[in-house]
Point group: C2
Chain length 286, copies 2
């Protein structure tokens, strides 16, 4: 049923790329890619206009009334997707305030006042402004009602923390290198050369291989429930899987048994659809 299952879901249609809030450089891919063609159920769940871009169910609306939040991000950003995915798990939502990373808005004064290093996402929760994705995820997990996404067992929580660190310290920097040329072209910067991309591909192979070894016989990254590490890795691999050069890297990485059921979760589908709804207009769903 779902068009999101499988290792490289919607690889022809998903707008690919990310805003790497965790580095001095930012990598985004071409904005010209078409928006994913959502299934009818996805389209229904996100509303049809900007003013009503919240999850449509009643409990979510109640949560929003209690906690109006604003997320500065972008529909191409994998870290924005991470936050949206957690919000959906928490049956909450936030208004997405688009920071036009293609126009470099993340480096302008208005955004630097929110995030002095010039990245997305940034969360505004009443008078409280927070940047850095992992800090935002941990904050929302504590602050919002519903089950926590941090394992209670000290060893399982440590393993979750380790995979969050690996995501930040190895996966995203390698991905940044892989996308360096595309980013430079888009931003009219000097071509950083093929060697950097190849270095990134080698590094990605190592880190995704390590993750595949770890996740091979597990349902979740740590413990017996979905944690922040699952959401981060899922969003990253989901966005990255549609990159042409990722196909060979993912082909050998046995992550599908973990990946498939997670991408079939209602909450995940909602997060993906809601984020995509901020993207460029697409043909009407069938």
């Amino acid at each position: 049923m779902s068009r999101l299952g499988g290792l490289c879901p919607d690889s022809a249609g998903i707008p690919v790329g990310h805003g790497l809030c965790e580095s001095f450089l930012e990598n985004v891919t071409s904005p010209e890619r078409p928006r994913p063609r959502l299934s009818a159920s996805h389209a229904q769940s996100v509303g049809s206009d900007r003013a009503d871009r919240t999850l449509a169910d009643h409990s979510t609306k109640q949560a929003l009334q209690a906690a109006p939040m604003k997320l500065y991000g972008h529909y191409i950003s994998l870290t924005t997707l991470q936050v949206m995915a957690l919000l959906a798990e928490k049956r909450s939502s936030a208004e997405l305030a688009l920071v036009d990373v293609f126009a470099g808005e993340q480096k302008l004064a208005a955004h630097l006042a929110r995030h002095p290093f010039g990245y997305i996402p940034v969360l505004e929760d009443g008078g409280f402004t927070l940047y850095e994705t992992h800090a935002i995820l941990r904050y929302l997990d504590s602050r919002l009602p519903g089950p926590s996404h941090l394992p209670t067992d000290v060893h399982e929580r440590a393993r979750m923390d380790q995979w969050l660190c690996i995501e930040q310290n190895y996966l995203l920097p390698a991905a940044k290198k892989v996308m360096a040329r595309e980013y430079a072209k888009m931003m009219k910067l000097a071509d950083p050369g093929l060697a950097l991309v190849e270095e990134g591909e080698r590094e990605l192979r190592v880190v995704i291989g390590e993750f595949a070894d770890w996740i091979a016989n597990r349902t979740y990254v740590a413990g017996d429930a979905l944690s922040l590490a699952d959401l981060c890795w899922l969003a990253d691999l989901y966005k990255m899987s549609a990159l042409p050069q990722m196909e060979a890297i993912f082909a050998g990485a046995r992550v599908e048994a973990w990946w498939k059921p997670l991408t079939e979760r209602t909450e995940w589908k909602r997060a993906v659809a809601e984020l995509a709804s901020y993207g460029p207009k697409s043909p009407s769903p069938p």
Copy 2:
């Protein structure tokens, strides 16, 4: 009294450098720098031979008997210092197993079995092996007795998490660039050029400036007690402050009012002295 107070403590004597476990490259500085000349009280606190390199007080010995731990690290590594500093705060300790980063041991099979990306530190706690510094810090904070170093208030904890992310995503990558030439020389790699070092210096100025603005009127990074973020930033700035090119950057950064009392803590002095005791022999203390 203390030789550790001040913005650039012992800048002539501290062995400077770090093992950046949070990147694919590793930056260390020359091993030829002399070991710091410890004060008599420091020397007393760490014992005189490798077999007895634990904190000397009785409560620590008791904790060790209950929880023998091994930390794979290096005396030049700022992330190793972070872990040692938390262990000292918890009145605990671990045997430091030196990974000779100058000989590239962190990339050999024995260490890759512990840390597949080839960095330090790695913690062994009975049968539980954990890598990535922030994961180790969070684990030890939960696992060991004594007050937690995570704020209980959700907003204060979020702020701590944010500064931990900034340390990992901006401070350490910038420091790595600053030290890139020295590292390349030591490892007999191609000179990465002055431009990279200058880029790192610009980035360091931004991130340390942001930190200085934040910490200017605060005793601690988040809340009203020492947190993991204080220990990380303290260890980083302490190790980095002795680099010649850091002097100008630190000169304008008003971090001393936060820094000075923290470096005067008994626990901090113990951690610094214990780590240094694994370093090369130095002249006897006066």
